[in-house]
């Protein structure tokens, strides 16, 4: 709750400092696109840190997955398999290969940690060096691109849902959120537990709807630049009607993040796997004595982390529309920082998915806000580092107050 407040204050503060340039549809659109890659991995990092582990290899793993996918779509499929460039199945096969590779590498690291009991810090520190350089080896250090024309649509600006589909999705999401609020209220009432008063429930529902629909409205309000629109019409052999404006709508990459965050929130709160992750983080011995296979659980958590690294690799390389040798550099630190700013405790057992996404947003907002205000590059990183430490301090003080 406090974090949402901090985020709102931060945005308003930058908006005032930049004289209203921070909270424009254009900047919010860019901010959300820039956040996606780190936020997706931060969701997985919550599970890793909650089970009292750490993963220092996510940036390097992202690079390896990106390299594998880049080579698959620019070398293997077009020439070795003779499908040619921009074949309609290329992007699907490439993504499938990348996700499989990420999951397997993650699971492999999980086996080393869970079954061979090598500390996660060491395994993933080794992984950090190994996967960064596997990526280098696979591409010979070259920038691989341009990537498949369908693949790059998952990167952000190159692929958005358009206004109508965005509104539809927004309404579906709002309806789903309201239905879930109502269903949980009904379930509590059925067992005779106290429920929130009707007015509080109503306010909560209204805020939920306003946030979802407001976000969609903002993204729709960012119009595709006229030149770009003209070219899109030219590509289809049509002439652009005079005075036409078309909004971008929700980028596919942000849609991916939304799906990941929603699914993982359900996994964390409403599945046995999620329950066991938190139990293991709270007391590993108790979890084992309750019959939970904590070793296999570790493998599953790291496999999930690997899968999400590969998904981030899709978004990150598609956004750049090529694979570069330094992709994902320092991402491990951003991802861990996002999870920690989002309230995930390194001592294990505590953390939320939405917190991690919010943490990633706060970091990105800080970085781009300072750039807009004109803060020198070294000071930007100094501030981000100080904020990380401060956020954890506030979290500690807050928990002490609550006595939890």
């Amino acid at each position: 709750m406090g974090m949402i407040g901090a985020f709102v204050l931060l945005c308003l503060g930058f908006d005032i400092l930049t004289e209203g340039r921070f909270l424009t549809p254009r900047n919010i659109f860019n901010l959300s696109i820039q956040t996606v890659s780190v936020a997706i991995m931060a969701c997985g990092m919550v599970f890793v840190i909650v089970t009292r582990n750490i993963d220092l290899s996510v940036g390097a793993l992202l690079a390896t997955c990106s390299a594998i996918m880049a080579m698959t779509q620019t070398e293997f499929l077009p020439y070795v398999m003779d499908l040619g460039l921009n074949h309609p199945v290329t992007w699907l096969i490439s993504i499938a290969v990348g996700l499989l590779a990420g999951t397997l590498i993650g699971a492999f690291q999980g086996v080393l940690i869970g079954y061979l009991t090598i500390p996660a810090f060491i395994v993933t520190l080794g992984g950090f060096l190994v996967w960064r350089n596997v990526a280098w080896y696979l591409t010979g250090g070259q920038t691989i691109g341009p990537l498949d024309s369908n693949f790059v649509k998952l990167g952000g600006t190159n692929g958005t849902m358009g206004e109508a589909a965005s509104w539809t999705l927004g309404i579906v999401l709002t309806a789903a959120a309201l239905w879930m609020l109502w269903a949980s209220r009904r379930a509590r009432a059925r067992h005779g537990f106290p429920v929130k008063p009707m007015w509080a429930q109503g306010v909560l529902a209204a805020i939920t709807a306003a946030v979802i629909l407001g976000f969609i409205a903002t993204l729709n309000a960012y119009d595709i630049p006229e030149r770009r629109l003209e070219r899109m019409f030219e590509a289809r052999g049509e002439v652009m009607p005079e005075g036409l404006t078309v909004g971008y709508g929700l980028p596919f990459s942000v849609l991916i993040l939304l799906v990941v965050a929603i699914v993982l929130t359900i996994v964390a709160r409403r599945t046995r796997f999620g329950r066991y992750v938190f139990a293991t983080g709270g007391n590993p011995d108790a979890a084992a004595l309750s019959g939970i296979n904590t070793r296999f659980l570790t493998v599953k958590v790291f496999a999930l982390m690997g899968f999400l690294c590969a998904l981030s690799a899709v978004v990150a390389s598609a956004r750049l529309s090529n694979h570069s040798n330094d992709i994902g550099t320092l991402d491990e630190l951003r991802v861990i920082a996002a999870a920690v700013i989002g309230g995930t405790a390194l001592s294990g057992g505590i953390g939320t998915i939405y917190g991690a996404v919010l943490g990633a947003l706060i970091m990105q907002a800080l970085q781009s806000g300072m750039a807009m205000v004109g803060v020198d590059a070294p000071f930007q990183n100094i501030v981000v580092g100080a904020v990380l430490v401060l956020a954890v301090l506030i979290d500690i003080l807050y928990r002490k107050r609550l006595g939890a």
Binding site: H191, G192, R270, A279, A286, A287, L289, G291, G349, A404
Partner: protein, 254 residues
């Protein structure tokens, strides 16, 4: 009185456990009949906790045999123990402190909806039901158990052991952290469970509570079994000398 003419509920035969050359349990045999409470006595490090952890699946035995209803069973992990209706209340309670009472009660055995999601409301309702029987004063169903008092935490651990229709219950110093009122609550519970035909291994330091609660007592010293006696046949001094000197009392002439 306990009927010992039938097959025992549990037989631990010739059990050995060693940790890196140190024999923590050395060829120990004990048994337990339905509706019976068997006390396990001994100094710290005598091996009593280690012995029952073999039965609860926390440790693997180095040698020997476990029989339930006369049939040999393999218990390699806590899941196997639970499958054999063996429940344990650990001295450390073994609770996940960051989760609430309901999640701890059902940990590893959650109630799920048809979609495979955990059904928190249904579990909380069950949790309130059993807590109402065990400890009517229990509050804080939504707090993490770290925020509960010692007695409340103990009731969560006890609830977890008795909720799932245990046939064999292991209690490792269940009253060590409790006040007099809660200790009495545990004593009453043991009587109730006994009447239901559940067999209980009770580990305790306190000779008097063993005399009050148990039908038989097995005394261990340095990993070996000193002997098993019928509680009505012995005095507290007899038990103490078994614990301290490792001597079985001279049989009472009958």
């Amino acid at each position: 009185m306990v009927d010992r003419s039938q097959t025992p509920l549990v037989e631990l035969k010739d059990i050995s456990v060693s940790f890196g050359g140190v024999k923590a349990v050395d060829h120990v045999s004990v048994d337990l009949y339905p509706g019976e409470v068997v006390g396990l006595l001994g100094h710290n490090g005598a091996g009593k906790s280690t012995l029952v952890k073999v039965l609860s699946g926390a440790y693997q035995k180095g040698g020997g045999e476990i029989l339930i209803d006369g049939k040999p069973v393999e218990i390699n992990n806590p899941r196997d123990a639970r499958a054999n209706n063996i429940e344990t209340i650990y001295q450390t309670l073994a609770l996940a402190d960051n989760l609430d009472a309901t999640s701890n009660l059902f940990l590893g055995r959650e109630i799920v909806t048809p979609l495979g999601l955990v059904d928190d409301s249904a579990m909380e309702a069950e949790c309130r039901k059993i807590m109402g029987q065990l400890n009517p004063n229990f509050q804080g169903f939504h707090d993490p158990v770290s925020a509960l008092s010692g007695g409340q935490r103990q009731s969560v651990a006890i609830a977890r052991a008795v909720y799932f229709n245990a046939r064999i219950l292991i209690m490792d110093e269940p009253t060590a952290a409790l006040g007099p009122h809660e200790t009495q609550m545990v004593a009453d519970l043991i009587q109730k469970l006994k009447a239901q035909g559940i067999g209980i291994f009770l580990i305790d330091h306190d000779v008097h509570s063993v005399i009050d609660l148990c039908d038989r007592a097995s005394v261990m010293k340095n990993g070996e079994l000193v002997g098993t006696v019928n509680i009505p046949d012995v005095t507290d001094d007899d038990l103490l000398s078994m614990i301290i000197l490792g001597k079985t009392p001279t049989p009472v002439t009958a």
